[in-house]
Symmetry: C2
Subunit: 346 residues, 2 copies
DNA sequence: ATGAAAGCGCTAACAT
DNA sequence: ATGTTAGCGCTTTCAT
């Protein structure tokens, strides 16, 4: 290693240095290195000289400069709702893998489900434009997302179905149908009548949809819902624990509990066991997302799968198809099939 | 929203536009906006004109251009070993929070514990220099990290104690001592004599250190270790499951199992329960990391805590102290106290 | 107090 | 086939 002594200024090696060493002009170096198809031919001889100079100096092109000039950053940004939820985090991994393949770096942001953070993300995108954005928006409006697109020219792909924009490809699960089916399955196959639901605040469009699906299933089966069976969590394990405690201590505890996501379902499961309720004998539990933990805990959690890794790669593939011009034309809206995975908690 | 019709080029608003609207020169706009302490005074009047032009146009400065000129990117990069391990992912969150506070964006990369990926990360840093780097390196050598520092001028902070470089602040837990203590505690307080260890490949310095601590504790207590009690996993839940299956099916299954990380311990726990072994009565299990799951599963997992969120914020704070010049001088090496958390699995 | 001009490192259009 | 030149959008000297 050079010397490692003292905190000194960096000594970046630029194209100029390479050009100088190779005895050619700086633009020739650029041409050799970018070897773009459209470019003019270059003599084998100079190409070799350049390449060996690059080798010798250990030159790395500066992407910041290249970005500025090309108006293309080779970065994509991802906005997820909760970095501590492994559901999102499988998505992230899927995206990273695909981005890597295309030579892109990934900027990750986390909204914690907060509108303010989502808006902050949009502002960040205006300042540091990226080529592509993958969003899991909860509160953002079409207008806000549209502004980012108009101003930065970024290609946007999102998870969810509540935004409709002519330039945004979307991928969404059929949440409501899956929730509806799960509740009916609890009623018809498991003979439950007293079914509680742990929802999230109704300002979250997907949360609202899932909750409505639960209501519809109960209504369609002619079942009545006690007020105390409807609980409101906040996506987290703690939310699930708190609401489950309320549920199990109420005068009429439910026979089954459906939660809007796995994290809350796991919190609920955990509280049930600690309160010595047998699961599923005394109370059955159903989640949503199929995060890795769902199959790991005992009893393992019955849940609705979204195949989160696939979602990530899928979203990224859709994005890069646009970025690389493989696909053009009107926005695509894909739906992914969801299905109940029956495990030990029901 | 403007029109949303058709996939058109972006219409970025630059400083020139602002200058034009405000009727001043572009450099004046820059001065007003950067309001750097060192800068010359500016008349209240023009400042107002500029600010209102900014407002009116909804101007956002372009960070790519600014980065190029200032040779400062306002980005930090993080290299973690496993994005699906919640231990790292609490670290990530801690870093994100701090970075956010300082107005920095965060680039996250994932090595999957692979040397090749770690080197790939270094190359990426050469091409897209960032102001700061936080590393959890497993295989990277001092030389390789030093090159990045020399070439990019980035400030580096890392988790771990096996790299010694005059410019790199490090934060490390006292893994070996904690492991040693945990094993002795199993022996002296829990009266176990047959203790197995699930290690990771010995090419991982921290893994090696922890393993040696286990050996030392056993030896110091005069206990012998059967060959089959030493198993090798790969950091993952599956690794824990596979090795635990081997352990429990062996002719002399251990009374206690210590794993090098929580993920493997959880896999082991899970297999034990599925094979109808009672935990901790038939076999006790100890992990390392204290990831959120450790306290969630039943029986909950006895483990060694590293306070991962604190680690993230701590690392980031150390980094920004350097970046912002709050601290200078020789590199600091901090140790964080680790301690055993006794839960139900022992 | 402000404008003009140079330049960060690169790409691409324009020369030759 | 290669060199020269003009920017990308910004910051920062140097003038005035």
């Amino acid at each position: 290693m050079s010397k490692m002594n003292g905190r000194t200024k960096a000594t970046p090696i630029t194209m100029r240095d390479v050009a100088h060493l190779a005895g050619v002009s700086q633009s020739t170096v650029s041409r050799v290195l970018s070897k773009s198809l459209s470019s003019v031919p270059i003599s084998k001889d100079t190409a070799d000289k350049v390449l060996s100079a690059v080798e010798q100096l250990g030159y790395y092109p500066n992407l910041t400069a290249s970005s500025l000039r090309k108006q293309r950053t080779f970065m994509v940004a991802v906005l997820i709702a909760d970095i501590s939820n492994s559901f999102y985090h499988s998505i992230t991994r899927g995206i990273q893998d695909v981005a890597d393949q295309y030579g892109y770096d990934v900027l990750i942001a986390n909204s914690d489900h907060l509108y303010e953070n989502e808006k902050h993300f949009c502002r960040a995108m205006m300042r540091r434009p990226v080529d592509g954005i993958i969003l899991v928006p909860y509160h953002l409006t079409v207008e806000e997302i549209d502004e980012v697109i108009q101003r930065t020219g970024a290609t946007v792909t999102m998870l969810g179905s509540h935004i409709n924009h002519p330039l945004i490809d979307t991928l969404a699960g059929d949440d409501d149908q899956a929730t509806y089916d799960a509740v009916r399955w609890l009623i018809e196959n498991k003979q439950h009548t007293d079914i509680a639901y742990i929802r999230v605040p109704l300002s979250y469009p997907p949360g609202l949809r899932r909750f409505n699906a639960y209501l519809a299933a109960m209504r369609d089966c002619g079942l009545t819902i006690r007020d105390e069976w409807i609980q409101e969590g906040d996506f987290s394990i703690e939310g699930g624990q708190r609401t489950m405690r309320a549920l199990l201590s109420s005068p009429h505890p439910p026979q089954a509990v459906v939660a809007c996501n796995d994290l809350m379902a796991l919190g609920a499961l955990n509280v049930a066991l600690d309160m010595k309720w047998r699961v599923p004998e005394d109370v059955a539990i159903v989640g949503f997302d199929d995060i890795p933990l769902a199959s790991l805990v005992r009893p393992s959690l019955t849940t609705i799968t979204q195949l989160s890794t696939d979602i990530g790669t899928q979203l990224a593939e859709m994005l890069f198809e646009r970025i690389n011009g493989v696909v053009s034309g009107p926005s695509r809206h894909w739906t992914i099939p969801l299905h109940l995975i029956e495990r030990q908690s029901t």
